[in-house]
Amino acid sequence: MQYMLLIYTDGEAGESWERLSETEQQAILAEYGAISQTPGVVGGAQLAPATSATTVRVQDGRTLTTDGPFAETKEVLGGFYTVEADDIDAALEVAARIPAARMGGKVEVRPLIEM
């Protein structure tokens, strides 16, 4: 089975990140790196901040393009991993290791539908 781990950070993630020392920041980046290298983790990426987002809708044949994410929410999608696993427990264990989960954010674990 494949799972997507959707990493949500709280709105203040940028500021909390700035407040960390360089050593702390390096340590956290190393953790993310280690997760990428974990067997079963088959993909993933960090997303650029929500301020860089653009939203597209098509209505009556017209394309509507707007600045910003689709909704101004407190929680912001910051990145994701794709995990290949026999069952959900393996995916949950990876999710628990994600630094954002213990720094005020959340990780949503959702199975992918096999084509």
């Binding site: 799972y3 026999d86 069952d87 959900i88 427990d89 949950l92 199975p111």
Partner: protein, 407 residues
């Protein structure tokens, strides 16, 4: 679940005892809850029909499991699309005829199978109590699959419409399938937290029953006993069983003419001696295994309360251990009560006043009692009034009103 009307062979009891184990084995075999449930129901229905006629088999569980398996295989052979739901890689050759050849009177029939049939109830209960499921789904699924309770019974017990409970079960089973919740006993590194979740579900079922719906309390104790047999080396399992038995033993004495009776005033002759003894035995087992977790501590406290003369200092010390583990203000409140008994109301009140539990009726009731003992009647009155405002049941309210009147 098929409940036979004829209980002259004690069929009702046998069915209750066997349902969970038969279903667990089928789920393990087929990998699908619904298919397993249908097969089990067919087997139990067949038993209800055949056993009164042919006599009860020497090994009812084996007969039921084998029959159900054959039924499931036959269904799959007739409808191959069902194969996608199961984890059967090939369909065995068993046919419906084999079921007729299961000789109910042959004492060896099914015994060979019995040894080969694994007990997968542990796998089942860990699946039902998986953290990916909502708590109310965990409770419903546990009662339905391991307890064999009907959807209507569970709905009544939790005061929701039957359709709501049916939906809850459907969604839970769907989540197990779509999210890939595994049917297994968790690996060692996950076992402590997963076991805690299972025990929490069982304790929740017990507490729902303890308030009055006695059948749920009995069901919880049954589950607790099964767990103790399946996980004999886990102290917290014995601890929970001890806690439930010690509380349940006092059930008959908790109310007199619909009025709440304090532990100190209870008629001890109404306490169930067998349950009390069983509770003490389970506690001994837990302590012998080195248990010092929350359920063991709560059971030890319950045992202390059952003694003729309570050692309040010891009770306070046990609560102190429990507070460290749970960091719960409610537990600290209970400790304050024990401290008050051991060292006087002033000592207890100092602890109570440090707590932030303003919406908790027992905080105000406790404060009121301690203030009363200190002669601070005006303040005691205010606290009783606040407690009465927050009371959640009539017996409770009446009890507090009596205390207020006695001031």
């Amino acid at each position: 679940m098929a409940r036979p009307a004829d209980s002259s062979l004690g069929l009702e009891q046998v069915f209750r005892d066997e349902w969970g184990r038969v279903l667990a084995t089928l789920i393990g075999f087929l990998g699908d809850f619904d298919l397993a449930e249908e097969a089990a129901q067919e087997a139990f229905a067949l038993a209800a029909e055949r056993w009164p006629r042919d006599g009860r088999p020497a090994n009812p569980g084996a007969w039921l499991t084998t029959t159900a398996r054959h039924r499931a295989i036959d269904r799959i052979r007739r409808d191959r699309t069902l194969l996608e739901k199961t984890r059967l890689l090939t369909v065995p050759e068993a046919t419906e005829d084999d079921v007729d050849h299961l000789d109910a009177n042959d004492p060896d029939a099914g015994d060979a199978d019995a040894a080969a049939i694994p007990d997968e109830r542990l796998e089942l209960i860990f699946t039902c109590c998986h953290p990916a499921l909502a708590l109310d789904a965990q409770v419903a699924l546990t009662l339905r699959t391991l307890g064999g309770l009907g959807t209507d019974e569970i709905a009544r017990a939790f005061l929701v419409p039957e359709a709501t409970m049916a939906q809850r079960l459907v969604r839970a089973k769907r989540k197990i399938k779509t999210a890939g919740i595994p049917f297994r006993v968790p690996p060692d590194r996950l076992l402590p937290e997963r076991l805690a979740a299972v025990l929490a579900v069982v304790y929740l079922i017990f507490n729902e029953g303890f308030g009055g719906r006695g059948e749920l309390a009995a069901e919880a104790i049954r589950l607790g006993r099964s767990l103790a047999a399946l996980l004999p080396d886990e102290p917290e399992v014995h601890g929970l069983l001890a806690l439930m038995l010690l509380h349940d033993a006092r059930r008959a004495a908790r109310f007199a003419d619909g009025e709440l009776v304090l532990l100190a005033d209870q008629d001890r002759s109404l306490w169930d001696a067998t349950e009390t003894a069983a509770g003490h035995a389970a506690l001994e087992r837990a302590l012998a295994l080195g248990g010092r977790g929350p359920y063991v501590l709560q059971a030890a406290i319950a045992a202390e309360h059952a003694a003729e003369r309570r050692d309040w200092a010891r009770i306070a010390a046990l609560y102190a251990e429990l507070v460290v583990l749970t960091r719960s203000p409610v537990v600290e409140l209970n400790r304050a009560v024990a401290v008050a008994e051991a060292r006087g109301p002033q000592a207890g009140l100092e602890l109570v006043d440090r707590l932030e539990l303003d919406d908790y009726r027992y905080l105000h009731a406790t404060r009121a009692e301690l203030l009363r003992r200190l002669g601070r009647t005006v303040e005691a009155r205010a606290s009783y009034e606040r407690a009465i405002e927050l009371a959640t049941s009539d017996p409770e309210r009446r009890f507090l009103e009596r205390r207020l009147a006695e001031l």
